[in-house]
Amino acid sequence: MKFVNALASATVLAACFLSPVNAADLTVGFSQIGSESGWRAAETTLTKQQAEKRGIDLKFADAQQKQENQIKALRSFIAQGVDAILVAPVVATGWDEVLQEAKDAEIPVILLDRTVDSKDDLYMTAVTSDLVHEGNVAGKWLVDTVAGKPCNVVELQGTTGSSPAIDRKKGFEEALAGKDNLKIIRSQTGDFTRTKGKEVMESFLKAEDGGKNICALYAHNDDMAVGAIQAIKEAGLKPGTDILVVSIDAVPDIFQAMAAGEANATVELTPNMAGPAFDALEAFRKDGTLPKKWIQTESKLYTQADDPKKVYEEKKGLGY
């Protein structure tokens, strides 16, 4: 009897797992910040793709960078009685009330990419990347690549005071700690833009003996690296060989540079935050397993060996 029971429940479970019909009646509301950057556009595209693949009915709301629009969207999701809500919060504060409303309606809320300052029992989980870890992966790559040789590093920071700039700097410095052969000789902000990345790199090159003194560049995002690569070329040096280039984000354009041998490595900030969120949600609906309060996305390292041309073609269509 026990065996039959077990078999029966296993079959039911398998049926749940295999049939897309079960997922089809899942309706999820997604409140996106807006279209502030190419990365966010890619996140929206991937969320829609993931929902379609899993047969989830996704209700999408664009908040145009305003929290009040997001709160409105959340309330309308609650009124519609969706099965779950994904939200990429535009700011960290002011969410308690609407999250409580969702909790009262027993609708699980999953935070994407950013977190909030509310008590953590008001949401199910947060899917974010670890910015410090990203910097760390970039730093480790550099440590391994120079393999003990002396190397002067210049750093292009993000916007001064922004959390990606602080954390990516911290993670990189942690990876370099104790490695006496590696030294960060100059560090300036490039405001996360190509123009400033290029301008600041030009001054680094002038200040460090025409660039002969620089062995590697670490940029807090790919756009600054792309600008800096042009500056290095204009100074008559070869980016990727004379000066190693490592950056973070993995936007399509850096793969073009890697394919041309002008950039060496990038750490991916994956725009696929919805995948792990839907995984957690499906597991919860299946047998009530609550996910951890923080799901860390993978910070994957790409180098020239990872067929950058192919990755570029894959990423190109995502709306970056």
Binding site: S35, G38, R186, S187, R194, S203, K206, A207, V226, Y320
Partner: protein, 337 residues
């Protein structure tokens, strides 16, 4: 003639001194500052960097000076830069020849300028509000053109405008110097400059005395739009892509600052394009100097603020009165222009 040259020299003296002091300060913290070399068919050095990186603000300052002289202001230039850069990039990726690309980009800037001029001159909206419209909406338009992404291109001709060299100087430097001289000649060798100053001092009186005020106002904003278009093409060509979010961001403020550092009053009237260009170079020299100095980035804005406050304080009318009190004989032929 000699008298005009003397007057010009006297007018530009405070800016020249300020620039010299800023350059001397940079040379003190970074000894290799004045060194030059010849590389890739062009001059290569920090001074050239300042001239080159300062090109967008210098170009914007030319148009901004004329607009401010009419007692107006153009806040939209940064956004217009983004739109025109986006148009140029979109045109280049469609495979249009360089002439068509440039014509489209400059025409876009001119249209934006005419729109601003129309709001100010015909509908009589205050300039700060009228141009705020395009400042806010402009980036949205640029994003529509680039579809939200950084639009990259490989058109060699267009890239040459940002990274090429002519006569040993980078193209952007050549463009802003030639354009600056051309516009100065246009307004100073004709009565145009005086008419613009008249509008700035008293628009109503100018209209009553027979000046075609609306036409001149629209022309001033159109010039500003054209300058923004050239600056936008240079900015896009420089990074081989149009970045709708960041191209020209806050540059309208740098351009206004350049005009103010150049000693032109925001209340309209007398203006000097040459002084504004010097102002633009002072600002860029400070920016480049901070980058070369190796200070941590947290200090960037503080250093910039302190230097600019000092320059403005030294130029303020009260300080001038005090200094002229001590140096009365030297102020005998104190022409302002």
């Amino acid at each position: 003639m000699i008298r005009t040259v003397q007057q010009l020299a006297l007018r530009l003296l405070p800016q020249v001194i300020a620039l010299a002091i800023v350059l001397a300060m940079i040379a003190a913290v970074f000894p290799g500052f004045f060194s030059f070399s010849f590389q890739n068919g062009r001059l290569y050095g920090s001074i050239i960097d300042i001239l080159n990186r300062g090109a967008p603000v210098a170009l914007l300052a030319i148009g901004m000076t004329v607009v401010i002289a009419t007692k107006g202001i153009d806040l939209s230039v940064g956004a217009v830069m983004a739109i025109c850069g986006a148009v140029a990039a979109a045109s280049a990726t469609h495979g249009n020849p360089l002439v068509v690309t440039l014509a489209l980009a400059l025409a876009t800037g001119i249209v934006c300028g005419i729109w601003n001029g129309f709001l100010v001159a015909v509908l009589d909206i205050q300039p700060i509000i009228a141009t705020l419209v395009l400042m806010v909406a402009g980036r949205g338009i640029a994003q529509l053109v680039t579809e939200g992404a950084i639009l990259t291109f490989n058109d060699e001709g267009l890239i040459f405008i940002g990274g090429g060299a002519f006569g040993g100087l980078p193209m952007p430097v050549v463009i802003w110097i030639v354009f600056g001289i051309a516009i100065t000649a246009l307004v100073r060798r004709t009565a145009l400059g005086m008419l613009i100053e008249a509008i700035g001092i008293n628009r109503r009186a100018s209209t009553l005395s027979g000046i075609q005020t609306p036409v001149l106002l629209i022309a001033a904003y159109t010039l500003s739009g054209l300058c923004a278009a050239i600056a936008g093409v240079i900015a896009a060509a420089d990074i081989r892509g149009a970045d709708a979010n960041n191209a020209g961001l806050w540059l309208e403020l740098d351009a206004i600052l350049a005009v103010v550092v150049g000693g032109t009053s925001l209340l309209g009237g007398r203006f000097s394009i040459a002084a504004s260009l010097l102002g633009a170079m002072i600002i860029q020299a400070i920016n480049t100097g901070i980058l070369l100095s190796g200070f941590p980035p947290e200090f960037n804005l503080i250093i910039k603020a302190v230097i600019i406050v000092v320059i403005l304080v030294v130029q303020s009318p009260k300080i001038r009165t005090i200094s002229s009190f001590f140096a009365r004989p030297a102020r005998q032929n104190g022409g302002e222009r």
